[in-house]
């Protein structure tokens, strides 16, 4: 869709952006020479969770905030429950903590699998410029065959069965509460979860093999990852345990600079000292940045406070992985991309986030297996603790699959919420996603180059790598994230028309 603006530039719109969670639109503006003058990624919605959490009993927030995102409800469930623990000053019993991490790790594998196979994967399996009518999960199933499709469906199905074992419901489980979990795990349930975790490890390893053959085995894709217009040297953020290894459920927030040196490591409750958010009038979504570095606009580099919080960022901040198979995958990832298997040199190739996501799948699956085999996991008493203190204030933080997620609540003495503040996974990456889209547009659109549907899809691939969730990000305002790309020229004419493929009636 291409139109001319009153400023005389030409605008190409991608509306909505697709294969992601939530709404968004891309406007690309072309100057008189047919080059990209600027590019805006807009999030058109807000829902206002911060405000309507006020007045609610704080123990209800783990039931309310998961509706920020039905794709990653467990992330909000856990961050919210952790904030509640702190509001009531409850020290979690060990089994409660393990149960939460187990539930979370199984969710992690499932969620990453969804992105790999249904959202991001079709660009590689089907090809970035393939027919858009089949560039989706159904097309992937048709191409890879029913046997592999069956594996994927089973991963998702079993993942949701696990969610239901813990939390009753396969989507939006309800079991994490202030002080722990709403019920203990029975021996029978544990056995089933053991089976599921074993399968998840196997499936994650299979996915890495698939990534190697489909993506790394294709020189064109390797070239696109390494040399395409998809690279930003930014700060990286992620949670780490006491040994600086990745942890998705708990830990301290570590930030490293574009060269891999630690900028800061802080307990999540100190987040306001380290992160602030900019507001721009042209989008409903805010732009977080590192306060110690400062906001320099939508630019990368060491002088810019823009950071990323993605699977890649988490590998960048981690000194190692906590499990053996993931460690091997981590070393291979860094060796290939930086030449240094230690992981000390960060990776900044945006499309390699897909690879990092698979490394995390293996890590989360292995960690789930460790936890499910801990004899204390079925302890019938230590699954929750009752509050004894007057409620006040708390911060809960987990690594959502899409970035560091922070819930911050202040309550009155009856535990009624007075104020709530949320910085969600995707919002962390808002600046970087905007920059990545612009970089891709500038790298791909030039005078004389046909702005084909496939070219526009390659621009969308820049955001898809982040697995963004604008359901999450727009918790504050109603957000719309399907994407539009528009380009306009300075003389007011239509420079190029970005068209998607004709109606895909055989999209299946």
């Amino acid at each position: 869709m291409s139109t001319t603006t009153s400023s005389g530039t030409r605008r190409i719109s991608i509306d909505p952006v697709t294969r992601l969670e939530g709404h968004g639109k891309i406007d690309i503006f072309l100057d008189a020479d047919g080059e990209v003058a600027d590019c805006f990624f807009q999030v058109p919605e807000l829902r206002g969770f911060e405000r309507f959490c006020e007045g609610r009993p704080v123990e209800e927030l783990p039931r309310i905030t998961p509706r920020i995102c039905g794709v990653c409800p467990e992330a909000h469930l856990m961050a919210s429950a952790k904030a509640c623990d702190e509001v009531y000053g409850i020290e979690l019993p060990p089994t409660a903590r393990m149960l939460r991490e187990l539930q979370y790790c199984l969710f992690y594998v499932t969620d990453h699998a969804t992105h790999f196979y249904a959202l991001g994967g079709p660009d590689f399996v089907m090809g970035p410029e393939s027919d858009p009518a089949t560039r989706n999960l159904i097309g992937v199933i048709g191409k890879v065959g029913l046997e592999i499709a069956g594996k994927v469906i089973r991963c998702r199905q079993w993942g949701h069965e696990a969610a239901a074992i813990f939390g009753g419901r396969p989507v939006n489980p309800v079991n994490a509460i202030p002080g722990g979990m709403s019920k203990p795990l029975s021996a029978e349930e544990r056995n089933r979860l053991d089976e599921i975790a074993c399968y998840m490890v196997e499936f994650a390893e299979f996915t890495l093999e698939l990534f190697r053959s489909v993506v790394l085995g294709n020189q064109q894709y390797v070239d696109l990852i390494l040399n395409g217009p998809y690279r930003h040297a930014t700060y990286s953020m992620g949670l780490v345990d006491a040994k600086n290894r990745s942890n998705y459920y708990d830990g301290e927030v570590r930030v490293v600079d574009p060269d891999g040196r630690e900028l800061v490591k802080y307990p999540p409750r100190d987040y306001l000292q380290h992160v602030a958010e900019r507001v721009e009038p042209w989008t409903y979504l805010k732009f977080p940045y590192l306060k110690a570095v400062g906001w320099k606009g939508l630019v990368d580099g060491k002088e810019s406070g823009v950071y990323r919080a993605t699977p890649q960022s988490r590998l960048n901040v981690a000194d190692a992985m906590s499990t053996p198979k993931a460690q091997a995958a981590y070393e291979q990832y860094f060796e290939t991309l930086t030449g240094d298997r230690s992981g000390k040199r960060p990776v900044h190739h945006t499309l390699a986030i897909h690879w990092a996501r698979v490394v995390e799948m293996i890590n989360a699956a292995e960690r789930a297996l460790e936890l499910v085999r801990d004899p204390e996991i079925t302890n019938q008493e230590k699954y929750r603790a009752l509050p004894t203190r007057t409620p006040s204030e708390g911060v809960g933080c987990v690594e959502a699959p899409r970035g560091t997620l922070t819930h911050h609540y202040i309550t009155d003495e009856n535990g009624i919420v007075r104020r709530a503040n949320l910085i969600v996974g995707t919002t962390n990456n808002h600046a970087a996603i905007s920059m990545s889209i612009k970089q891709a547009a500038q790298g791909l659109i030039h005078r004389g180059v046909e702005v084909s549907e496939g070219l526009l899809n390659k621009i969308e691939m820049a955001f898809r790598a982040y697995d963004p969730c604008y359901g999450c990000a727009t918790h504050s305002l109603p957000g719309q994230m399907p994407m539009t790309v528009r380009v306009r020229a300075a003389d007011g004419t239509v420079l190029a028309e970005g068209r998607r493929a004709a109606r895909g009636s055989d999209n299946g």
Binding site: S7, E277, W282, I423, P482, R488, R503
Partner: protein, 322 residues
């Protein structure tokens, strides 16, 4: 739909969280059957069709459109109208599209308050100039537009005629598949007037396996304050549970893990106002001979508005009371 061409199906999200889209994916292996019987012609979450594709379809081109999410801005309204025009059957899918869902709790506040909490009066925000998002912004290269934010969260049926309602937050996948089969098999007529599907006319209590001992409630407790006795009705134990006033279809999943129902399937039976229905049901369950004592007990319930209307704040009867 006819025997020669496959049915055309669309799934759209307006003011939603994506959970409804996930619930459709959760039909699992049946997804393969679904795509064998129908072509997806629009599904932003999973397929690369854009708005201009939908606009180019002839009227009534889409046989079945599952519309999830509430309507809170001009773009969502535009899409609701466009999809109504292009669809033979339009389904309000999930609690948000039917009755506002959890985002409709925002109807307890004004847009100004919502904006303030997100953009100005927020501890992490760096916004000394008090910048707020606005519908149109002039940039150096051209004007930028974002949708107009509405004062309230609206239901799909506030905008266009709706044929079917599939309740739940999200709808349970097994129910969804049953409805899809009924539709594709021709068991459901294309047009209807807000006909419920994927649920029953009973209540969650009818599906719940916890034992009712017919004990009157002598006090209310919050779920984090006490560990419930296993196997016993949560409401009788004093935990506010909306099962009695909520239509069934979910399988009473929350009470299976000791958590009370919050009413996501909407009001049961003939009731239109879920909160009023619950208060009515509660009346006979309180251990209170006198009205004054009943009032004292009810006063123990924190946040009745946000609890009794957790998923139905946009419902018609509540309009004008926000």
């Amino acid at each position: 739909m006819n025997a020669v061409s496959k049915a055309k199906v669309a799934m759209y999200w307006a003011g939603s969280c994506g959970g409804c889209d996930i619930s459709l994916l959760e039909i699992g292996p049946h997804l393969l059957e679904l795509v064998a019987a129908a072509d997806v012609v629009f599904w932003p979450c999973a397929a690369d069709f854009k708005y201009h594709h939908v606009a180019s379809y002839p009227d009534g081109y889409i046989d079945l459109c599952l519309f999830n999410g509430s309507v809170r801005n001009s773009e969502q309204e535009r899409m609701a109208r466009l999809l109504r025009q292009k669809s033979k059957t339009l389904v309000a899918y999930g609690a948000c599209a039917i009755s506002g869902g959890i985002p409709a709790l925002a109807n307890l506040a004004t847009p100004e308050e919502l904006f303030a909490r997100s953009y100005t009066d927020c501890p992490s925000v760096d916004n000394p100039g008090g910048v707020l998002p606005r519908t149109e912004t002039e940039s150096l290269v051209g004007e930028l537009e974002i949708p107009h934010f509405y004062p309230q969260v609206l239901r799909l049926s506030d905008i266009v005629e709706v044929d079917y309602l599939i309740p739940g937050c999200p709808p349970q996948a097994t129910r969804v598949w049953e409805v899809c089969q009924a539709f594709l098999g021709g068991a459901l007529p294309a047009r209807a007037h807000e006909q419920l599907a994927g649920c029953t006319d009973k209540s969650v209590c009818d599906e719940c396996t916890l034992e009712k001992r017919l004990v009157k409630i002598s006090g209310f407790r919050r779920h984090h304050e006490a560990i419930p006795e296993p196997g016993w009705c949560l409401l009788e134990q004093g935990f506010v549970c909306l099962g009695a006033a909520t239509r069934s279809g979910c399988g009473a999943l929350c009470t299976k893990v000791n958590m009370p129902c919050r009413g996501c399937y909407g009001p049961s039976g003939e009731a239109r106002d879920q909160g009023a229905a619950f208060i009515g049901a509660l009346g006979s369950l309180l251990n209170a001979e006198l009205e004054a004592r009943a009032g004292e007990l009810i006063d123990q319930i924190v946040d009745p508005a946000g609890t009794f209307y957790r998923f139905t704040m946009s419902d018609g009867d509540l309009k004008g009371h926000r």
